[in-house]
């Protein structure tokens, strides 16, 4: 068999299943989602009507949607804090240091822990009566905090869990970027008499500029997709809708309220937000 025929056979057999799966679980669902968002399908009955833009109108007129979006915003601000802290710790870990690998591994550890285990662990940590944080607060004669049942606090508590979990991941990426900066850059700048701040400002920051953007993008798209903490820890975004996120609200609309079409419209809106964020990020990368 000549190599030309072989190549055709190889490409067909190797790529058929992966492409079929990609088509089935990515392209088809995307198109279906958009289509469903213009109907009144309830997810159960076989028939539906076309209803134009009314689901999208409902998305913008539902107060819980805006509340959820605000909560995603809290996750995002929390993510910015996480990036700042992670960069600081990465800079520390990139310097000469005893026990560097141990510090790095420990700080990264939460990232590989099971999400349900983390959720239930923090349920306990945040427990109003028996939790360790309130134990300390009471010992210091301070008011205990209702971390998970006070509507004004709950989202911050959940975002805190997310920070605990993903901080090490962000840090390790910054650390890898810092360690790939060639040493000569610093050496020659030092000869020119640059001080520490100048080195950081003019060599370190520009060198890891792309990675900072990448991490910020991961933060933004991650915060738009926040789901697990609220789903498990506050029973799908409670109390009421206080800790609801876009994603928990989508899941509740579809599976608790059988409002598939509305959930589809919500998903499309979320998808558009994520895609816009991605495009902006790629533009920024191309610009530099």
């Amino acid at each position: 068999m000549n190599y030309k025929t072989q190549k055709q056979i190889l490409l067909t057999t190797f790529l058929f299943i992966p492409l079929l799966m990609l088509f089935t679980f990515l392209i088809y669902p995307t198109l279906k989602l958009v289509m469903m968002s213009f109907t009144n399908w309830d997810g159960v009955m076989p028939d539906f009507r076309w209803v134009g833009w009314s689901n999208y109108q409902a998305v913008f007129e539902t107060p819980e949607v805006w509340l959820s979006l605000k909560n995603n915003g809290i996750y995002f601000i929390n993510g910015l804090v996480q990036n700042g802290l992670a960069l600081m710790f990465a800079v520390i870990l990139a310097s000469k240091l005893r026990g560097r690998n141990l510090f790095k591994a420990t700080l990264f550890l939460p990232y590989i822990i099971n999400s349900a285990a983390i959720a239930f662990m923090f349920n306990y940590i945040f427990d109003f009566e028996r939790g360790p944080i309130n134990f300390i607060l009471v010992a210091l004669h301070l008011e205990p905090i209702r971390f998970l049942s006070d509507a004004n606090i709950v989202t911050f508590s959940l975002a805190g869990v997310s920070l605990w979990r993903y901080f090490g991941f962000t840090m390790v990426i910054y650390l890898a970027a810092l360690q790939s900066i060639p040493n000569e850059l610093y050496e020659s700048a030092k000869v020119d008499g640059a001080n520490a701040w100048k080195l950081f400002r003019h060599i370190t920051l520009p060198s890891i500029h792309r990675i900072i953007e990448l991490n910020l993008f991961l933060t933004l798209s991650g915060s738009l997709r926040a789901f697990e903490e609220a789903w498990v820890m506050t029973n799908k975004g409670g109390p009421g809708y206080a800790s609801s996120t876009f994603m928990t609200y989508i899941m509740r609309s579809a599976f608790d309220f059988n409002n598939y079409a509305f959930a589809a419209a919500l998903s499309v809106v979320l998808l558009i937000m994520v895609v816009i964020a991605t495009i902006i990020q790629r533009k920024l990368v191309l610009r530099s």
Binding site: Q6, L10, L11, F14, L15, I17, P18, L19, M21, T24, F25, L26, P29, T30, K32, L33, M36, M88, V91, I92, L93, S95, L97, I112, I113, N114, S115, A116, F120, M121, Y124, I125, D127, R130, P132, F135, W164, I173, A176, A177, K190, A196, W197, L199, F200, T204, L214, F227, V232, M247, I250, M251, A254, Y260, A263, A264, S267, L270, L271, V274
Partner: protein
């Protein structure tokens, strides 16, 4: 210069004396690191302590108090049996195993085709994978759910397997990066010997990709084991409980027995933590390759 070293993450030759300023700066560095480590470790310690306490002990001692004995495995035994963890670990193992096999097989095959050959559809395929990196599958779950429902696979192993085995772009990137390092002259000399493309892939390329495969196996195993979304949504039947969902079911059953719950939490955490301790190197290299390429 020590400060410069710290700020820039570079080591400087340490000429001159160790000044007071340097000393305080180093002290600050270690204080911050220790603080960070404490924030990571303390919640885990509290859970570990609690998991070894008997019911009476739990109600009578404070959270930070050490348990009377670290050999009191009663909660671990009870959590394991009442939470039906044998079933849960078995189910998690099945979805991890087949999910990982799917990713390795499809990922290496796709990467081989895209890296070594030029063909008409290549641009289109690259475009689709590029799209898959932008569109989060999580946003598509509403329609994926109705699709899987019409296929009749919800609450069977097939639903999570189909979703987990769908190659994600990061796997392909990792394979592509390793393929860059395997010289094409190897393929060519094998072709002179008359080896078929299949044989080249099977006996030359795939074995040389072992480090990439190791990274992907570990990363994917951890991701699938830890995933909540797919398992909650598609495996809600009791007999299909996984380690992740077992904890949720368990909590619903006995909400007040925090010491028992803590033991359950530790059971669930153990596998990936052990894997991480043993195979750190692969995990770190995997996430940096994946992320930086994105």
């Amino acid at each position: 210069m020590k400060i410069a070293a710290a700020l820039t993450g570079q080591s400087f030759s340490g000429r001159g004396s160790y000044t007071a300023k340097q000393f305080y700066f180093n002290l600050l560095k270690y204080l911050l690191l220790v603080l960070g480590v404490l924030i990571v470790i303390l919640p885990l310690l509290v859970v570990i302590f609690t998991s070894f306490k008997s019911d009476v002990e739990y109600t009578q001692t404070s959270v930070f108090q050490l348990p009377a004995s670290f050999l009191n495995f009663e909660n671990y035994y009870k959590a394991f049996t009442q939470g039906e963890f044998i079933l849960a670990f078995g189910n998690s193992f099945i979805i991890v195993l087949f999910g990982v096999i799917g990713n390795v097989a499809f990922g290496s095959m796709t990467a081989f085709c895209l890296h070594r050959f030029d063909f008409k559809l290549k641009k289109v395929i690259n475009g689709i994978y590029y799209l898959s990196a932008i569109v989060p599958t999580m946003c598509l779950q509403v329609s994926i759910y109705s699709l899987l429902k019409s296929l009749g696979v919800i609450n069977t192993y097939l639903a999570p397997l189909l979703l987990y085995a769908t190659t994600d772009i990061v796997m392909i990137w990792i394979y592509m990066q390793f393929l860059d390092k395997i010289p094409k002259s190897l393929d060519e000399s094998a072709m002179i010997d008359g080896a078929s493309y299949f044989k080249i892939f099977r006996s030359i390329i795939f074995p040389l990709l072992t480090p990439a495969t190791a990274t992907i196996v570990i990363l994917k195993a951890i991701t699938i084991y830890n995933d909540l979304f797919t398992q909650v949504l598609y495996m809600s039947r009791q007999e299909l409980r996984t380690v992740t969902t077992a904890l949720i079911i368990f909590q619903g059953d006995r909400i007040n027995a925090q010491n028992l719950m803590s033991a359950g939490i530790i059971w669930v955490m153990l596998p990936t933590v052990i894997l991480f301790l043993v195979l750190q190197k692969y995990i770190f290299s995997g996430i940096t390759v994946g992320a930086v390429k994105e």
